[in-house]
Symmetry: C2
Subunit: 190 residues, 2 copies
DNA sequence: CGAAACGTTGACCGTTTTCAATTACAGTGG
DNA sequence: CCACTGTAATTGAAAACGGTCAACGTTTCG
């Protein structure tokens, strides 16, 4: 059966599949098949600036949906790339839209999802407006955003990875964070 | 009658009011009354970083809705402040939610709104990942984001206003933009 | 008319970027 | 099981870019 708000969709509306690390789930400009549920693994939605830098517009982890916004647009606006071997559920776009037409409860769930995303982006914007690299990194860690590797974490914060490494080690030195392992840091519990 | 997707709401669901420049539409932490339609003027949704910098999370102009996301949360997550004398329409939250329950078409409209916002934020994130101030400013102008004053434009881009002034005048000097008037720039049409 | 806010430009300082090099892993195939 | 390869983590040093402070011109609005 489909996860949480999608339980009223027939099983035929979804397809299971797997991708190896580095494979594309979809590409910029492609016609949207629908949205996805990430059963296991890690998928990044990525855009590229003109100068070629990859910007992780969103990082999805096991148990999360992604590409909900594509339900309402004519083409994907970014690339989606599996970062590790990932198990996915593809959820059919037109059947989802049809369900929204008939089931208002479901529509509201979708809206709630999107509203939360808007709030998350606002928070990210706020984070990105913190000038000091150290404070920015600390706030991001406090928000639980240090998942996956530090390269993509740094890109999400709009800092070079070297700067993030330095900020993390300085924060650890100042005992504002604790280093758990190579590349793993944690807030200091109090 | 209410604008576009809200036409099926009774007139009693909305209230007209005006605010002078600097007045709050709502405040961080307040219970959401509903969303707003900006008939005329300019309203910014603003958050404040710990260090006190104001971050314009969203800038709303005449003819636009704002605070749609507050339909789905228990408190406002930012301040909303009129930047100029503004005419507003307050749209009742519970009546809007009730309409979503009964009118799936309307729910879909709301979702579409939110989805567009998500896309806009992704674009902004991409912009903010452009390292060079000059290129960042140019892209933002190309996207039509240079409205209102340059102070808030700069804050939205995550740059100091001085840097934005300099970038603009350098871009004009290099004929990549044209200066129309004090503080007004335009893409060079070709 | 005067004050306040915005626009503009200059100079200097500091942080982050960049380039570079080194170390630590994880996966791969012999 | 181990060398081999690629990618991520880490640290150093120098340069560059943007931030900050400061001053001044200009427009707006009460």
């Amino acid at each position: 059966m489909l996860p949480a708000p999608f339980s009223s969709l027939p099983n035929s509306a979804s397809t299971n599949f797997e991708l190896h690390a580095g494979a594309y789930v979809f590409r910029l400009g492609g016609k949207p098949f629908g949205l996805f549920f990430l059963v296991d693994g890690e998928v990044h939605l990525i855009r590229h600036t003109k100068s070629g830098d990859a910007v992780p517009i969103h990082r999805a982890y096991a148990g999360e949906f992604f590409a909900e916004a594509s339900l309402f647009s004519d083409a994907y606006h970014c690339d989606a790339i599996a970062q590790t071997h990932s198990k996915l559920l593809k959820i059919d776009r037109s059947q989802t839209l049809a369900l929204m037409e008939t089931n208002p409860r479901f529509s509201i769930e979708i809206s709630t999802y999107l509203a939360r995303q808007v709030q998350d982006y606002r928070r990210l914007l706020e984070l990105r407006s913190i000038r000091s690299a150290q404070e920015r990194v600390l706030s991001a860690v406090a928000d639980g955003w240090l998942k996956g590797n530090i390269l993509s974490f740094a890109a999400q914060l709009g800092l070079s990875h070297e700067t993030v490494y330095r900020a993390l080690s300085d924060l650890a030195k100042a005992k504002r964070l604790e280093k758990v392992a190579r590349g793993k840091f944690r807030m200091i519990r109090r």
